[in-house]
Point group: C2
Chain length 335, copies 2
């Protein structure tokens, strides 16, 4: 069958190394893709482009509608906008799906039974980027929650649960304080949950919900929440499952999708053949399912699991008594 065109950005810091590893692995597994490389991130920012992405790159994304993105570095200081947020917003990538899975006993974890999928709303909330300087001493940021935005992500979570054979969807929010905004999210959750009687549902105030998630993640299945809570708690969940370095993420819109690792560009580790490519590789697995090459996705995922099981581990997940061999990015990809 025909190759699928995808847009690829190798990013900054450890980005090029983990992208190289990822592409080598998925090509070896038979991915039928045509790669369009674009440059995004630090160098583009420093050319004065505020979101770190040039018109020609936008054009590629609009055409392929599939984006595999390595982490980038956003320079410090004013005037720079997050590229991630720019792409999520421009293509209305409303659902950020982040599976956080323990690979016990092959990766060290305190939560061996953990298998949680965080479904994070990806456009609204404090990510609107609307901020006011009321006085030099008083800053105001806007948190926006809409009914259509909430409906869309919550329905996505229930559909995801249904088609992935998951039993329960949990909602996190804080409607005892944000009665309007989080109140709306909670209300919409209850409405939509009622349409899925086959799937269990529950809602927690985010403080105690987060405490339970960090302590007893085995009690959760699919968890849906507004953007900022999802940002924080997907990092928490991924880390306690094993490492933020092991989590990939899909940003899904109506027509377009972006796949990435959940971690950052780790500039201090760059160029040393140290980084764990697993997050981006698992992002690519989600991409392969999305572009309808599930057999390639499965092949990659199994090869990856097998490598973990063989104890061939990068430094970040290396643990005495669990790991067998400490390897670099390249050797991990080879394995």
């Amino acid at each position: 069958s025909q190759n699928v065109p995808i847009t690829v950005a190798s990013g900054d810091g450890i980005g090029p190394e983990i992208m190289d590893a990822t592409l080598r692995v998925i090509k070896a597994a038979g991915a039928r893709i045509d790669i369009e490389e674009i440059e995004v991130g630090e160098k583009v920012y420093l050319r004065g482009i505020s979101a770190g992405i040039e018109p020609s790159a936008w054009e590629s994304l609009s055409r392929t509608k599939v984006f595999l993105k390595a982490p980038i570095t956003t320079p410090q200081g004013g005037g720079y906008k997050s590229l991630n947020v720019a792409v999520r917003t421009a293509f209305s990538l409303y659902a950020n799906v982040r599976p956080c899975v323990a690979y016990h006993p092959f990766v060290d974890t305190k939560h061996p039974g953990m298998d949680v999928v965080i479904v994070r709303e990806n456009e609204e909330d404090l990510y609107s980027g609307i901020e006011y300087q009321q006085t030099p001493n008083m800053m105001e940021s806007l948190k926006l929650i809409s009914r259509p935005g909430s409906e869309r992500i919550i329905r996505y979570a229930f559909e995801y649960a249904r088609s992935n054979n998951r039993k329960k969807v949990t909602c996190f929010m804080k409607d005892n304080i944000m009665k309007q905004s989080d109140g709306l999210f909670h209300k919409v959750f209850d409405e939509i949950a009622a349409e899925y009687p086959d799937i269990e549902n529950e809602a927690w105030i985010v403080d105690i919900g987060a405490a339970k998630l960090a302590d007893t993640p085995e009690a959760f299945d699919v968890v849906v929440m507004p953007n900022l809570y999802g940002d924080i708690l997907s990092d928490v969940a991924a880390q306690i499952a094993g490492s933020v370095g092991l989590a990939g993420s899909a940003n899904i819109g109506e027509g377009c999708a972006m796949f990435e690792a959940i971690h950052g560009s780790a500039p201090r580790r760059a160029g040393q053949n140290l980084a764990n490519p697993s997050g981006l590789l698992l992002g690519a697995v989600l991409m392969l399912v999305h572009i309808n090459q599930p057999e390639v996705a499965t092949a990659v995922h199994n090869a990856w699991l097998r490598t973990l099981e063989d104890g061939i581990h990068t430094y970040d997940i290396y643990a005495d008594g669990v790991s067998k061999q400490k390897v670099g990015t390249r050797e991990f990809a080879d394995a």
Copy 2:
């Protein structure tokens, strides 16, 4: 020496039981206090008072300036304001101090070395309670961060570190997205940190910071952050240290202070002599230090530790192989 007048509210749900236990213990240890009881919470809300506290109760608080508060229940639905937030705001209780300590090997925990103090800003952020319904389908909540508010809480964190012999203050915020509001918080942190060269400092974006805290809490000491992050992450920290049921909290202002447990009123456990009074009791220990009866505070704290060490545990922290005797609220207090 003279008795100190304090205002006490027994609250809702498990409140009366844990307050009874707490007052019995601190009196037995020689606390020199005169108690003024006020009624707050559910019954008062249901009389139509929006913040669940009547004028006579405000009057008592204004006079004693010390408040020991059990958890309360806020009825569901519109029109009710959080009593906690009302009191924090009315008396400008800007610092919420929440020690989260592991009591290994006496209480089961995956983080035996943990000893973290969360210093949470307690007046600003999304707790302003300012929300707009733009259209029936679009809600807006305001996040406010001010320079004076940030200076005050950050300075408090460094002073706390200095006077409690702590080595490091960490700041959590998200200034890659909220460049103005969290950006101001970060900037003020850097400014004030420079005034305390004897104390280590570091700042993390809250997503990865929270992941580290949940995974490696031993790496943190004092952690200062805006209100909402502090709400969520103090529950996380307390829970992974052992239980949210073991954490007390001090809400400190210029002239007034409120002491409480960090957990809620757990209506389903009420009236069964089940609840763990430790959170409120440790809140009372913080109060005894505040009213300058440190020797009583120490006596209570030691007796409490000894009870834990003896394996005399309430249901919530009962663990096979660690606990010796499962007891109720009253028996725990007796012990």
